[in-house]
């Protein structure tokens, strides 16, 4: 058989699930599917069968632009010594319990 396998024909999709109202969609994994509608159905079966979510996004893996591990230092290290970016230099007034 010279035909490509189904795995080669079906693109990869990244799956994001919102666990409940008020939370953001969180990346939970990826799957193969021939089109977006099937990707959504497959995601429902693979990632929400134990009531993990109330909403699903699927995104073609190729549509995601990711930072490269090689760029890790340039991307993230400069933030390491800038503690003043953390909101820790002022007094929290009494009575503001949930700031």
């Amino acid at each position: 058989m010279s035909e490509p396998t189904s795995r080669e024909q079906t693109p990869l999709w990244e799956v994001f699930v919102r666990a409940r109202r008020g939370l953001s969609h969180t990346h939970v994994g990826s799957l193969h599917a021939p089109d977006a509608e099937l990707a959504l159905r497959n995601a429902r079966d693979l990632y929400t069968r134990r009531q993990e979510g109330v909403s699903i996004w699927v995104v073609p893996a190729g549509a995601i632009t990711a930072s490269s591990p090689d760029e890790k230092d340039a991307f993230f290290d400069p933030a390491a010594d800038k503690v003043y970016r953390h909101p820790t230099f002022y007094e929290v007034p009494d009575g503001v319990a949930h700031l």
Partner: protein, 241 residues
Amino acid sequence: MNGPFDFTLGLGDDALVAAQRLAEWTTRAPEMEEDIALANIALDQLGAARLLLTYAGELEGAGRDEDALAYLRDDREFRNALLVELPNGDFAVTMAKLFFLAAYQLPLYSALAGCADERLAAIGAKARKESAYHLDHGALWVKRLGDGTEESHRRMQSAVDEVWPYTHELFAADPAAPVDPATLRPAFDDTVGSVLAEATLTKPEGPWAPAGGRTGVHTEHLSYLLAEMQVLHRAHPGARW
């Protein structure tokens, strides 16, 4: 058929045998994702079967529980429609069977949800959401294979042609039943007509309408299925995990 016991038993056997057939795909489906989808659908059917067979046992009043009904009857005592016992064939045949079954079960369970029998109404209310998903899943594959490549179209049309005659039995009139199956036919025809049209498939015609499942006269395929399903319980009655 004769009264709510036979009716409930028939629906329970439809679900049980459909579950067993679908479970045969486990580890063998064309894709891992589809493998899990089919197993999920099989488990939905098994869940409905358990509720229906348990209730059937109570209606009968002879002390038979779901296990007694599932594991200790022979093929002539099963009341499932022939459609669900047919072999899986290729993936297109499985999808044709799934699609036709769900297109029947969805209006059936929806009607049951509003029927006078409270137990059947509760079972219908639970199962119809699952059936809606089964219908969605079957329909989307029927469309993709029918309106796909030349080869997938050929196989899907051949699967529809092969399975179609067995759908007629599902709608045999039974005015005394909690829901008369004959009343479900228009909803079924609507669903099937629109999906097949979208799938560029031709709805089969012809008078052949094999039946007999509801009276215990089955194809030769059922006893092999039951042998595999029942062997453990018959060899080790009451075996538990």
